[in-house]
Symmetry: C2
Amino acid sequence: MRLTRAFLPTLKETPAEAQIVSHRLMLRAGLIRQTSAGIYTWLPAGLRVLNRVADIVREEQDRAGAQEVLMPTIQPAELWQRSGRYEDYGKEMLRIRDRHDREMLYGPTNEEMITDVFRGYATSYRDLPRNLYHIQWKFRDEVRPRFGVMRGREFLMKDAYSFDLTAEGARHSYRQMLYAYLRTFQRMGLRALPMRADTGPIGGNLSHEFIILAETGESTVFYDAALEEIDWAAKAFDFDSQADMEACFNLATSAYAATEEMQDEAEWAKVPAERQRTGRGIEVGHIFYFGTKYSQPMGLSVAGPNGEAVVPEMGSYGIGVSRLVAALIEANHDEAGIKWPDAVAPWKLAILNLKPGDAACDALCEKLHAAFPNQAIYDDRPERAGVKFNDADLMGFPWQAIIGPRGAAAGRVELKRRMTGERLECSFDEALAKLGA
Amino acid sequence: MRLTRAFLPTLKETPAEAQIVSHRLMLRAGLIRQTSAGIYTWLPAGLRVLNRVADIVREEQDRAGAQEVLMPTIQPAELWQRSGRYEDYGKEMLRIRDRHDREMLYGPTNEEMITDVFRGYATSYRDLPRNLYHIQWKFRDEVRPRFGVMRGREFLMKDAYSFDLTAEGARHSYRQMLYAYLRTFQRMGLRALPMRADTGPIGGNLSHEFIILAETGESTVFYDAALEEIDWAAKAFDFDSQADMEACFNLATSAYAATEEMQDEAEWAKVPAERQRTGRGIEVGHIFYFGTKYSQPMGLSVAGPNGEAVVPEMGSYGIGVSRLVAALIEANHDEAGIKWPDAVAPWKLAILNLKPGDAACDALCEKLHAAFPNQAIYDDRPERAGVKFNDADLMGFPWQAIIGPRGAAAGRVELKRRMTGERLECSFDEALAKLGA
């Protein structure tokens, strides 16, 4: 993609309304634009990151055996009246009346709807277990939306719902999601710690939230350094093995970890001082086991192996997909801008032509651009080198290929690794090899 | 995906509310489930088709030089008040008041919003031309939603918006989209005819709708057989060439084609009788050139090459993505069910194990299943062969691999091509080659 044709606008000024670094950088780097309070348009670079984050979430949900569906954004009020949550939810729920004056709402979550959908098909114990998820826009009418997509009103969430025949089955499903989450965040280059949590309006008696560490996080967290040393991607637990999932759960939850609100000083004191760690955290996921809290009132029941009626045990599992984009920036930035991890970068490479119009520069840039279809941004603008350096740093492409007239004449490319600042001068072929063309 | 673990429910009975074949088959084959009038949940098989359709649309938009963004579903009323359409739109617009009593709406289309977004960045003629699109859920509060996703209330649409410096530039953008649409529909195995159309509530003075031919279409169309003979995918017009786009436009629009409402008997009489064709059609796309109808009131203006203020010329271009899923079924089905074209099938292959538990059957099925990760459904259910044949025909997988004990013992597979009914008995390796493993 050539910058002279692209819609990748950057802003020089820091927008006044942005209070946290991710919000500032998302506006300045042209990832999002506010269209109403707490509601954003995703511009091309932002949408590409959002999609890459969603794809990683999707792959790990699929790996765990969950199946993707897509529920609509608009729900009928009756579903929520049946579960008793219609009144409870208060003003955060966006309530709507359609042209026939029927009460509708913009879904803030989908426990009721998925239970109703599943009820339409599940009749026997053979239809269980199942785990269904979707990645869909939700709406929560926050009083004071702020921090950009970190606490927006219209936001993208992955929510999964498990249906099991027994409580033990439901705990297995819960552990599968816990492991899937640890893998998901690690693949994005994030360190996410599972912490025991309150269940809030979802309900139930077992719940963990996933907190990623970032200096600019919203709350303080306390944890045992042992948690930092676990490489979840390397563990290769078998999702179908009860024993593996139990081992994974124990490994992830036996070391101490708590947010400020859940801090237990007596337990904390038991962690050896040299392993005590304190940091700032951002919640990016939350999982719940709540038994029959929704299946019971929604009338979901299947015939068990002996013909008896069984009300399935359920859990729900959320990941804030749009929030993760902001959280990734909170965890990966410097004064100059964003430093995208490779796994979620909108484009892997920016090609900076320092002298458009110079035949050698143009030729080398074009050749490199052609080698990375759909993976490179080619800055062919008639701008000063300083502007190009600043924009590339701001937008955070993992690699920059800097091509000036002197180097180009000798067929040399300068590569810069945004994450580390490392620089390397090399031949065109070496550059291709380094960039993994 | 094993059917014993999948969420791929089929219905034996034809639901009473479904009046057209695509609606009946989408419900029976477990593609969608209604959650309110005109609002649907997409089940796993339906979602996969929806995503494949959207991906083809996306690839062809990208090829044409359009860039993807994502606007939110909820819009502020002020945008529509500025263009004057807030009152015009009537009851089809879903109007909402948020907790602060601000007037909002669920977007039925995005001319106002994209113009406002673009205005935030475009300052100079160098920022033009641009074409921005998104694939997002829309809402139109139809009085009587019906025909399933063919005329639903919450529906998925691709809408693109072009910004040009001149009227001639805007016509070029219009022609680019016209060619992109012809390619898009042809890739899905559909024959789409562009027809001159009324501009309706979008406005403007140049408009074409794209009608696909299907026996069960909603309206009658009249066209010159010459249009049927054009292979758009083979044309390889250059999107960047004004001359190519003009040639493409002339080729696509010079032969007679009209819906009932636009039929011109005098012009129709000029088409040689042996080339006159009449058929039923379904509208799947609509493109508009409307000049400065939105850029003017929304205050979009850029500095021209000589510093003068220029109000960009705009067009908008829609494809009904969720509607296309139904249209594809209207065009591809028989008594037994859906016949998915390869390009949009949810899975390319169904493996029917006629005797689960038979060692040879199980082994051969597992081996075939392993050869098509994520592309095959393995019917391992303890069901009669007849049930499996019926479900595979109903769900419309392009290929069926039928494996019974006798064949399996000899290492033989029976392949069935759903589209043609053709059958072929072959070895395992021949089957792999035939299926393109």
